[in-house]
């Protein structure tokens, strides 16, 4: 249940679920996200333009020609949280990763005083939860890694990180959907395309609330999948 509702501009509402960042709070955010999306697509809630979940907030952007802040707030207040369910909407993904494409494992191993293999094992054994997707299209923020491998961002971000690169910072893991600059510690790369701007029905592979487990693949397997796509 959200703790506070407030306006953001004249065409947005912030549902604030509290300050903490954890799975249970984020699960509540995502349950509401699915509910608003469903009510909107079923035609029970008009004028919704976008609905953006983040760690502890859901931001709803609406069309002032069709609705207003009071109507959205009334709707949100009427939501029965005990009846919201996440399980039917969430998917479990296995994403291939080739650790041969790492850029930082050596250095991480030194800083953390853990073997590279151990870092890889921790990563492989984590069932990641997708807190949110964004900043750029398709970019997932996934957690939670074991505290043993917590690291800060790179002091100097890289100018160019190839698409598909997988990085970690603190308890989070990400996948770079595009070639871009970035400051995450790169531990490998996936051949899987996570955002497709030509596919209108299913542009984004992952969704907030889904879970992800990684599967280690060799460079040969990587190239094979890469050539097939």
């Amino acid at each position: 249940m959200f703790k506070k509702l407030s306006n953001i501009g004249d065409c947005g509402i912030v549902c604030d679920f509290g300050e903490e960042v954890n799975r249970s709070i984020n699960t509540e955010v995502i349950k509401l996200f699915h509910h608003v999306k469903k009510q909107s697509s079923d035609g029970n809630l008009s004028g919704i333009l976008n609905c953006t979940p983040s760690y502890n907030k859901l931001i709803i952007n609406f069309d002032l020609n069709k609705t207003n802040s009071n109507k959205i707030i009334d709707f949100l207040k009427s939501v029965d949280f005990s009846k919201l369910n996440l399980s039917e909407d969430k998917k479990e993904w296995i994403i291939p990763i080739c650790y041969d494409f790492e850029m930082d494992l050596e250095n991480m191993s030194k800083v953390l005083k853990i073997d590279k293999e151990e870092i890889i094992n921790i990563h492989l054994n984590t069932v990641f939860f997708i807190y949110m997707i964004g900043f750029v299209p398709g970019h997932p923020f996934m957690g939670d890694l074991d505290a043993k491998v917590f690291l800060n961002r790179l002091k100097t971000p890289r100018v160019n990180i190839p698409a598909g690169s997988i990085g970690i910072v603190e308890k989070f893991c990400n996948i770079y959907p595009y070639e871009s600059p970035g400051g995450w510690n790169i531990i490998g790369k996936t051949p899987k395309k996570i955002f497709n701007s030509r596919d209108s029905t299913n542009p984004c592979l992952l969704s907030p609330g889904d879970t992800v487990k990684f599967k280690s693949i060799s460079k040969e397997e990587f190239n094979k999948i890469n050539n097939e796509r």
Binding site: D10, N50, C51, I133, F141, S197
Partner: protein, 319 residues
């Protein structure tokens, strides 16, 4: 399919296909994009008798030079734009905004510059032949999303259109002049993060639009806004018109191509009714912000929508 097309002889600075925007995808990290100045966009489509949401070409500062290689069409340019039509004898005719013109094979449209504004629009009867992605033909060039592989229009691109001219008449619309640098805002989600004197500075001092301004954001320069709580917040969803203040104290207004989530405190949000006016202010302009309440913003939006409706109703045949 129609094989009529323009060839791009000069692309202009930032020429892209845009419509009303692409929605229901922000949770996947896709910003809405869409036309910056909704009113000018709508007028352009209505002039050429298109559906109000048809895709158009948007340009900034300097527009494109287009040669009609094949076909005949009717077009309209809106905003405040200096443009010429060059006929096949190489004679130039000075164009007027907010009216339609017929153009024939071999003729050119030379969109020279916007006049003390940023964005202009070119619509053609029936619309351009571009394929939508997720129900929109808006270009988000930062993420290569939209027509033309998500890129800005480039030299030698061929721009196809859906059908040749059918409408016999030409039309004009009476558009009122509305330049304004006084922008009304609502308090932002983290308004209380700023010192009392900074809250006052924000709505009493000038903030100048920096040249580092594009479809993603408008950077402002002025009295530093002092954050007394925290210069970072947990990343949260962004709405266009939000005014965020990074650690350097210089505000940035987030515009249509904004990142979908962000972690800077927001001091204010531009009201929807003033958004078109805001984005048409050129770099170097001093903006002045004024706080109002939600109810007033909603009333202002009603007035804004009614004004557009009244403007569109002035559409008449040129005799």
């Amino acid at each position: 399919m129609n094989d009529s097309f323009f060839e791009v002889l000069r692309p202009g600075i930032n020429t892209t296909f845009q419509d009303q925007g692409r929605f229901h995808l922000q949770h996947f990290g896709v910003a809405p994009s869409g036309c910056m100045d909704y009113e000018s966009f709508t007028i352009a489509n209505v002039l050429v008798s298109n559906h109000k949401t048809e895709g158009v070409l948007e340009f900034a500062y300097q527009g494109p030079l287009l040669k009609l290689i094949k076909g005949q069409t009717k077009f309209a340019i809106t905003g405040k734009v200096h443009f010429q039509i060059i006929n096949s004898k190489n004679e130039t005719i000075n164009g007027e905004c907010n009216r339609t013109y017929d153009i024939e094979e071999g003729e050119q449209i030379d969109i020279l510059a916007t006049n003390k504004t940023v964005y202009g629009y070119l619509a053609i009867e029936g619309g351009f032949s571009v394929s939508p992605f997720c129900n929109s033909v808006s270009t988000l060039s930062r993420a290569n999303i939209g027509p033309n592989e998500g890129k800005k229009i480039n030299l030698k691109n061929k721009i196809f259109f859906k059908k040749n001219r059918q409408e016999k008449n030409n039309y004009f619309i009476n558009v009122q002049n509305k330049n304004n640098n006084l922008i009304r805002v609502l308090k932002g989600s983290q308004h209380d993060y700023f010192s009392d004197s900074s809250k006052k500075d924000f709505c009493s001092k000038n903030y100048k639009i920096s040249s580092l301004t594009d479809r993603m954001g408008m950077r402002l320069e002025g009295t530093i806004l002092k954050n007394v709580v925290s210069t970072n917040i947990r990343s949260e969803g962004i709405i266009k018109g939000s005014i965020q203040v990074p650690a350097d104290g210089q505000p940035i207004v987030l515009l249509n191509d904004h990142p979908t989530i962000g972690g800077y405190p927001k001091i204010a949000n531009v009201i929807s009714a003033d958004y078109d006016l805001l984005v048409q202010n050129v770099s170097g302009t001093n903006l002045l912000f004024k706080y109002i309440e939600l109810e007033e913003a909603e009333k202002a939006f009603k007035l804004y929508s009614e004004n557009i409706k009244e403007t569109l109703e002035t559409k008449s045949i040129i005799k």
